[in-house]
Symmetry: C2
């Protein structure tokens, strides 16, 4: 079995949406990614939590084929995020954030993990992401996530990092910000000009575009009507993509199909608070939605 490695945050989230509220929900980019990717391939997680992190979460993650030997348990409290989604839930409002043990975290990739073929550099400062990248040994496919904060404050470092990874996976608004434009088509062209080999641009409920110098592919989103909590949708998308790639390997159109599986995992992620839906989704349910999307693409 081909492994997938994720380096990113593990969190306890307080979430408010028009559909209700969840306190101390399991969250964090690495968690959402790992649970989604684990539906396809064994996952290795590098991150940090505090002494307050509930052991039941650790047990649940281990039960889902996620190797936690790279998860540090540090003195202090777990990273906490309190977010609120209002109206059409297209944007999260941060009510409060406590970095806690994440503030001083310098990810160390265990020796047993450094040769993992598929890697997600989860959202973190580009300096931290470079430090992780430098620890890896000839990975097959490295995907980068980032966010508006780093695009705004660490642009130069981020632009140095882009050509060193295989793919960058960001949302539409982040792509516009990175490319300093108001046009998605212009953003795609500029980000490829910055040296990105593959850009995955997530358009929320409008789908996702995979762009390379050779061409583009666009997958629609699976049209779920049951959007309860958008937290983790993007991480679950990335997890579905890399998990599928690890499994499908060199199959024809594997990358395009990976975007479809990413969209599918994103559509499940939003249907319950926190990680609940992704924890319980079956491979059969996943494949059913993937077939629906394939039908939506068929001409």
């Amino acid at each position: 079995m081909t492994n997938v490695l994720v380096v990113g945050s593990v969190a306890l989230d307080t979430l408010e949406t028009p559909h209700g509220r969840a306190d101390n929900a399991l969250g964090g980019s690495a968690t959402h990614f790992a649970l989604a990717a684990s539906r396809f391939a064994p996952v290795r997680l590098v991150g940090v939590v505090g002494r307050d992190f509930p052991s039941e979460h650790l047990e649940m993650l281990k039960a889902q084929k996620i190797d936690l030997s790279g998860l540090q348990i540090a003195d202090g409290k777990t990273f906490r995020w309190h977010g609120r989604f209002v109206g059409d839930m297209s944007r999260a409002e941060t009510v409060s954030v406590e970095l806690n043990v994440l503030a001083t975290f310098q990810p160390k990739v265990p020796a047993a993990f450094v040769s993992t073929p598929y890697v997600l550099l989860g959202n973190a400062s580009p300096d931290v992401q470079i430090a992780v990248l430098d620890q890896l040994q000839s990975p097959k496919f490295v995907m980068l996530d980032t966010m508006n904060l780093w695009i705004g404050t660490q642009r130069a470092t981020l632009l140095k990092l882009l050509p060193r990874v295989d793919a960058v996976c960001i949302n539409f608004e982040e792509a516009l910000q990175l490319a300093e434009t108001t046009s998605g088509a212009t953003a795609v062209r500029r980000i490829l000009d910055f040296g990105a080999k593959i850009l995955i641009m997530k358009r929320g409920e409008h789908g996702a575009t995979l762009a390379t110098r050779e061409g583009q592919f666009t997958s629609p989103s699976f049209p779920t009507d049951r959007v309860v909590d958008p937290t983790g949708a993007g991480d679950s998308f990335a997890g579905g993509m890399l998990g599928y790639l690890a499994q499908a390997g060199a199959e024809k159109n594997a990358l395009r199909r990976a975007v479809i599986y990413g969209s599918v995992m994103g559509s499940f992620a939003v249907e319950e608070f926190g990680t609940k839906r992704i924890q319980s989704v079956t491979r059969e349910e996943i494949d059913t939605r993937a077939r629906s999307i394939l039908d939506m693409l068929s001409v």
Copy 2:
């Protein structure tokens, strides 16, 4: 040759965008639609202009296989719209509007046009659209356009009209407004529940979705990076769709391919002010972009 009929507005537009300004540009929903559809099939236009309407526009339209025998030339001035697009140009701001001869226009479909198989009921009050529909004799495919104004003020009449046509073609925001929701997936479900047989939901640069009770299809937009003036993009989309349908008839997946041709015509429409780009685009250029979109859908 199978004909296409459009009933709608013909206008003289003043247009302001971040790329410049055009005064007295040829415009109007029927004009944009007719020019786009005429790339595929002969078009019949029903509308009204005033005595001030430049004869060179009439000559140009006739030269493009557009039958103007249903275009009234009335005493008074032509309908005028002054619009401004700012920022990402996703929304038009109306600077001024003069209905002029359009204010009292009651469309009369000439006897020679009443049996036209493919028909666009261009944007107008639902009462006017119903009056036009009642004049048609067993059309094969009638598509309805509308706008936020009528959804807001004539909702009940519009809901009565929906089940009487074959397709409704509106943009994403209009679909949300019509369905009273913030979710595109919910909007699609509700509008089909209202009795629409086919919904075409245009997502701007994110593509377009064709939805029926049997399934959905989503076409990406052609990623043009040269957006000079969005005026008429939606009408050109509708023109590409119906023109292609008239030409392709009963071919397998004709409706899905029609959405692709609609997207292509929308992508050309925005590349110059007014109707300029659509007037000059060749069938070869159109087919090249359609092939690009087909490649973007291929898995």
